[in-house]
């Protein structure tokens, strides 16, 4: 039995320990804000926070989240919009939006580690997150806007 916290709620999981966190979140808990894009850590659509750090839920087995604190996009805007979300809205970032949960989770982690990122640091921090609609220019602008706020 694995014990973990998801968005502040205590959970226990007794299924296959190899099941990736992504499918536990989506199919078992019904937290569908975290998306499936590639399944092999190539696109970032499934990005969540494990103890505050961005991880790819699609390659994070349940065995590795025992005792962990998991945060998904659903919890980020719970008490009013997070500054990153507000910046995303201000810059009209999303097109289809499917990648944006992952982009936002990644951007929050980036800004925590690097509060005032340069262009190169944004490239480095965000290069794991694909947006097939091509919203990168607005993502960059939104990160710079959010960087003016404490995150």
């Amino acid at each position: 039995m694995i014990q973990l916290k998801v968005n502040g709620v205590d959970r226990s999981f007794g299924g296959n320990q190899n099941m990736p966190l992504l499918w536990y979140l989506r199919d078992v808990l019904g937290l569908t804000g975290t998306k499936f894009g590639c399944g092999v850590a190539l696109c970032g659509a499934c990005t969540v926070h494990r103890n505050g750090e961005a991880v790819r839920a699609c390659v994070t087995p349940m065995s590795s989240v025992s005792g962990a604190d998991i945060t998904t996009i659903e919890a980020v805007g719970e008490k009013g919009l997070h500054p990153v979300q507000a910046a995303w809205i201000q810059h009209n970032v999303p097109q289809c939006g499917y990648c944006q949960s992952g982009q936002i989770m990644q951007a929050i982690a980036l800004l925590r580690a690097t509060p005032k990122p340069t262009d190169e640091e944004i490239d480095e921090g965000m290069a794991g997150n694909i947006c097939r609609c091509g919203t990168y220019q607005r993502i960059r602008a939104a990160i710079k806007t959010a960087a003016k706020e404490p995150v």
């Binding site: 804000g33 590639c38 990648c99 097939r132």
Partner: protein, 756 residues
Amino acid sequence: MSAIYNLSRRGFLKGIVGSGAFVLGAHYVPRILWADETVLNRTEADLATLHPNVFVGIDSDGTVHIVAHRSEMGTVIRTSLPMVVADELDADWKRVKVEQAIGDSRYGDQNTDGSHSIRSFYDTMRVAGATARFMLIQAAAQQWGVSPADCKTDLHAVVHPASKRRLGYGELASAASKLPVPKKEDLQFKHKDAWRYIGKGMDSLDLTDLCTGKAVYGMDAKLDGMVYASIEHPPVFGGKVKSYDEKAPLQVAGVQKTVPIDPFKPPCAFQPLGGIAVIADNTWSAFQGRKKLNIAWENGPNETYNSAAYEKELHETARQPCKVIRSEGDVDSTFAKGEPVFEGDYYVPLLAHASMEPMVALAEFKDGKVRAWAPTQNPQAAQAIISQELGIPKENVICHVTLLGGGFGRKSKPDYVAEAAVLSKKLAKPVKVVWSREDDIKFDYYNAVAAMYLKASLDAKGKPTAWLQRSVFPPIPSIYDVNAVYGDPGHLAQGWTDMPYDIPNLRIENGPAKAHVRIGWLRSVANIYHAFAVQTFTDELAHRAGRDPAEYLLDVIGPPRTIDLKSTGYPNYGASFETYPWETGRLRRVTELVIEKSGWGKRKLGKGHGLGIAAHRSFLTYVAAVVEVEVTDDGDVKIPRVEMVVDAGLVVNPEITRAQFEGAAVFGTSVARSGEITAKDGAIVQSNFNDYPVARIDEAPYQTNVHIIDSDAPPAGVGEPGVPPFIPALCNAIFAATGKRIRQLPLTRTNLARAG
């Protein structure tokens, strides 16, 4: 009064969103809760107090319901079209509720493809809004005993300025509903100056949901008691299962059973490909179970398909005389005159869509009826294929449209929705079919692989005196007719039949090519390879003549004129020539403006930098692009800046339109940098974003500036037209930076590293 009315009208409701109910975002919930099947396909608009047409309804509390009948995949169409209705209705946007339509022919075309939602439905939306506004004014005038001509509307109310009387739309809805619906000829449309929303634009009504994880895509659809299915498809197109291990997958925890799906009967169209489905409690178990299927396949005739050999064949065909689709003057005798002649072969491989959300659909077959939820660009096609596969009437297929995590044309083909319905019937429970990324890449309807051959004879200034172009590609009609080998007029029209240059002798040809995979349309479709060939060849001719490529491009476009293509059967994207003539003056204008905006010939560029230009009309929109590249010593391509000038006629939602062109530049970057699908022994080689990479933030253009021409011309397309000129402009820039000419895509085929 209104409360009572509303109560009775909504008496059909089961009540709250409870067990067994489908869980979707707020915009989708109500209709799904109708207990009475006969009203299953009724919308809030249909049931409103005043509902003069299928797109609009007004409740007596003043709520305006507008139906969005096109699919939302990021173009913000489900905001932009309702915005047009709201403007003509003079409605307060805050009191508008937009409801997504199911697939239903009463809305007309719903295939959200071909960049034509605004173009085809702008008038319909204006009429929908103006009709309701007309009736509200009539109702108020009757009540006040004044002439309707003395009344007007003022944001959600009718006013009689002379007496300063005012009635809200909600108060008038009931009286207005008793009046006859006016004819279109009697309507008065707002003057442009009075527009509140059109041309000013509006954020997506889904914007906050998209940033908070609340937006509901097909991938997020859920029904109580549903099972998950993952399908092993035949690796070679047209293949069949010989044998498989029925039992082994059941060893995987969570796997319930395996279910065969019949192979399609040619032609494939939108039928399921066939294969073996693994049914499980969750997606992951279904994926795992597939690994144990141990299927032996009978591949069929397409197993001899190899991309390298096929590429050679296409080029050989393009070097031979082909079917003539447009001819002016006399190309052959001009070529024979002995002027210098220049020629080139161009190539663009198969391309996959790779929308961020893989194919996915949920369907429930019950009591002879199907309810499906799918991220589909074409719910009516989903109805049709499900009805065909299950042998039930089309009316018994309800197809709900969720948000789409990207579409790019792939989700116009509902094979995956049909799979869910077929499995639900076999299993007698709701089934959600989930494709992996590998399934998505390997079982796409690919943008056609194409070879083009161009030849021109040149005068003393290097300007073409005769021009020949041949294009060879497996055509999209091959999915409907196994013998189809020639391009259909609709796709030949895309940047080929309509070559716009001012050249007296011109011949345009198309050669045959047999398809060995499913061919389909992808954002910009045939314009991708056609614009690449024509705009690259043009740049080559300019350099050959020692002329400035931008000046040369304007020279070959020639003076402003209307091109007459009627004799060629040119379909003009389904629009009339009268309304949407092919005007070279507009192509000139965007070209001239992009030259100015990019500082062409005026800016000093850094080492390894270069500028490239291209111009193209597609989907009735004229676009010119200038791309700046930096090619590093080790051959990496960076794109610091892109300028695009767009003449799309009237633009309803400018900021959203700019975003579409920014996205097109990124999409074009993906095609150019790394877009290549290949087949080996009939099976697709690529599988995921490792071997079918798409542009990432550090590879995409750093800054794309989009300039929209202010125009009163009728609206044209904006989703696709940015892609075709971007790609050759990028490749021409690479030539300017490195002296290396890109005649085949993707760029990985050319070593761009500086020698030595």
